[in-house]
């Protein structure tokens, strides 16, 4: 009886124009800084066969973790549910979800056959009593089930925020063990949420600051394998590395890809002086972009490839500058108190993330590309090395704790600074670099 009533109400709601019910649209504006997260429910996905039940439940969990991890959403626990969803294609009993104040409801189904997984899902705007967009289906291998969950969460996030997602992405970083005076470092890559860690090098030599290529297939990094810091490129799929710069008597470090994926911008030190150069991966041709007795390092391209932001101490302390991609007169953009380093251009092109040192504290901050609207997002003994999520709305960075027992770990923070979270890694971790969204 109750079920029938609910169906009736749901049907009625479906017939009436949803807006006439006076519900606010299911929408989050990220830039406004969400103080009250949007409540959502994601019941276990419906397994197409009993064998898929475990995976169906796990996928729903990962979707929920992705959404709550943004700080923009709040999950309503299953213990509060009035309805269950046992048939993906049956009409949704909106009143039951409205009663527990779920604004968004995510339903799904999971079918598994021969190592292949098919995931279907729908997003429901509970207060409008209607679907938000059309249902979608993803297929992939059973091993890649977490990726399927991330794809569902990316679609939900995109529909509700109007922004691109970032969950189906990876992070390459430096995994660290050992005390401060005998730290061992090796490269590792993992899903953005810390799952599926894979090691890419051993810890025989110091490795630093890996950076993803624009397509996520290769990584640039610095290694002391030769006895001197030199830049290398590593193919992630084949785990094959190649040295890029081996000029006797020099050091090279701080490499980063140009948007074309073929050019590397980096720092080269010769005779104690550090300047910025580019290198063509294909031809090995080197071009000098800066020529000053000061330290020029940490270069990062604008997404259109036309400009480079970098740090220089030419004014006496570390500050941020922008120059044309071919070199030329730089323009200083940082003017606040303290020192600014490690600038990274947002993938949206609108902002630059940086590390700031002021009065003995370190901060991760963002500013517009002309230096205006500077905003500090974090503060600690030592925060450094920001990297942008593919959608330009979240930043991951290294936080190192103080003292003899100090260790490094990864954190993420959204660009409002409200949602600071640790990123799970199996060991200490530093120097994260976020991949683009996977295909």
């Amino acid at each position: 009886m109750i079920r029938h009533l609910a169906c009736f109400l749901a049907a009625l709601a479906g017939i009436a124009a949803p807006a006439a019910l006076g519900a606010a649209p299911l929408r989050i504006e990220i830039t406004e800084g969400v103080i009250e997260p949007l409540p959502f429910a994601v019941p276990d996905f419906v397994p197409a066969s009993p064998a898929a039940a475990g995976m169906a439940a796990q996928i729903a969990r990962v979707v929920a973790e992705d959404l709550t991890g943004t700080g923009l959403f709040r999950e309503i626990p299953a213990s509060a549910f009035i309805s269950t969803v046992s048939d993906f294609d049956a009409p949704v009993q909106y009143a039951d979800w409205k009663a527990i104040n779920a604004q968004a409801l995510i339903t799904g189904s999971v079918a598994e056959a021969g190592g292949q997984l098919t995931v279907q899902f729908r997003v429901h705007d509970v207060f409008s009593g209607a679907e938000l967009g059309n249902g979608l289906q993803f297929t992939g291998t059973s091993d890649g089930w977490r990726r399927m969950a991330h794809k569902v969460a990316d679609a939900v996030y995109s529909r509700i925020t109007g922004e691109g997602g970032y969950f189906d992405s990876r992070v390459v970083f430096v995994s660290e063990t050992g005390p401060k005076d005998d730290r061992r470092k090796r490269l590792a890559v993992m899903d953005y949420d810390g799952a599926n860690v894979q090691y890419l090098t051993d810890s025989a030599s110091i490795v630093l600051a890996p950076r993803f290529s624009p397509t996520g297939d290769r990584v640039l990094y610095t290694s002391y394998e030769s006895g001197f810091p030199r830049i290398y490129v590593l193919d992630i799929g084949r785990i094959e590395r190649r040295i890029l710069e081996e000029n006797e008597g020099t050091m090279s470090f701080a490499p980063r890809f140009a948007p074309d994926g073929q050019t590397v911008v980096y720092s080269l030190t010769e005779g104690g002086n550090t300047d910025i150069y580019t290198l063509s991966i294909a031809t090995g041709q080197r071009t000098r972009l800066t020529n000053a007795p000061s330290i020029e390092t940490a270069p990062s391209y604008s997404p259109d490839g036309k400009r480079i932001v970098f740090e220089s101490d030419r004014s006496g302390t570390q500050q941020l500058y922008i120059m044309p991609a071919g070199g030329g007169e730089p323009t200083r953009i940082s003017f606040g108190q303290g020192r600014y380093g490690t600038p990274v251009w947002s993938p949206r092109g609108d902002m630059i993330a940086f590390t700031k040192q002021n009065e003995g504290r370190f901060h991760i901050g963002v500013m517009r590309t002309d230096g205006s609207e500077e905003r500090l997002l974090t503060a600690s003994f030592l925060d450094e090395g920001p990297t942008w999520a593919p959608n330009g709305r979240v930043i991951m960075f290294t936080r190192e704790t103080q003292g003899a027992g100090g260790s490094a770990s990864l954190y993420s923070v959204d660009i409002t600074g409200r949602n600071l979270r640790p990123v799970r890694t199996p060991e200490g971790a530093s120097d994260p670099s976020w991949s683009p969204l996977q295909n």
Binding site: D181, P229, M251, L382, G406
Partner: protein
């Protein structure tokens, strides 16, 4: 990473190099002290006795293998110049040794900047040694930035010792 090197030229050492394929071995065998041997830190036993003026131990302990720097500076203090004078004399007397000068920074700074700062420091020491008559082709420089502190507290007493340039001797086998 620090291995006691008790013998200078025995096959055992060469084998160790081959097995470990350590950075140090690419640049001839090093006689590392704290902050030496690939910046690995710790206290290595170096060859010879600190009272034998021709021994690496004398260079490391009696003359002093390192000079210290002020915060964010690469200028050599008078004390540093005095130590480097001693290093220069020793290197000119013991022409069968080359050296790698390792520049280091304390942890108060971003990684890339500290690499560049360490390079400035190592280069300042190198240029001074060259100005005192040591042939430039005997001296290489490398920076470890803040990657290899020898003191691990987060206070100035430790930072002061970490802001250093260490002259690490290497037998001149491969020059």
């Amino acid at each position: 990473m620090t291995h006691p090197l008790t013998s200078l030229t025995t096959p055992r050492l060469l084998m160790l190099c081959a097995v470990l394929a350590l950075a140090a071995c690419n640049n001839a065998a090093k006689y590392g002290g704290p902050g030496g041997a690939g910046g690995a830190g710790g206290s290595a036993v170096v060859a010879g006795s600190a009272s034998d003026p021709r021994s690496p131990a004398y260079f490391q302990q009696t003359i002093g293998d390192r000079v210290l720097f002020q915060v964010d500076q690469s200028t050599l203090t008078p004390e540093a110049q005095q130590i480097l004078n001693g290093q220069a004399s020793w290197l000119m007397t013991n022409a069968n040794f080359n050296a790698v000068i390792e520049g280091h920074a304390d942890e108060q700074g971003t990684r890339e900047y500290n690499l560049a700062l360490g390079a400035r420091r190592a280069n300042a020491a190198r240029e001074y040694l060259v100005s005192r008559g040591v042939a430039g082709n005997r001296l290489k420089v490398v920076s470890y930035g803040k990657e290899r502190p020898i003191e691990i507290c987060s206070e100035e007493s430790c930072y002061a010792k970490n802001r250093r340039a260490v002259t690490v001797l290497a037998s001149g086998l491969t020059g």
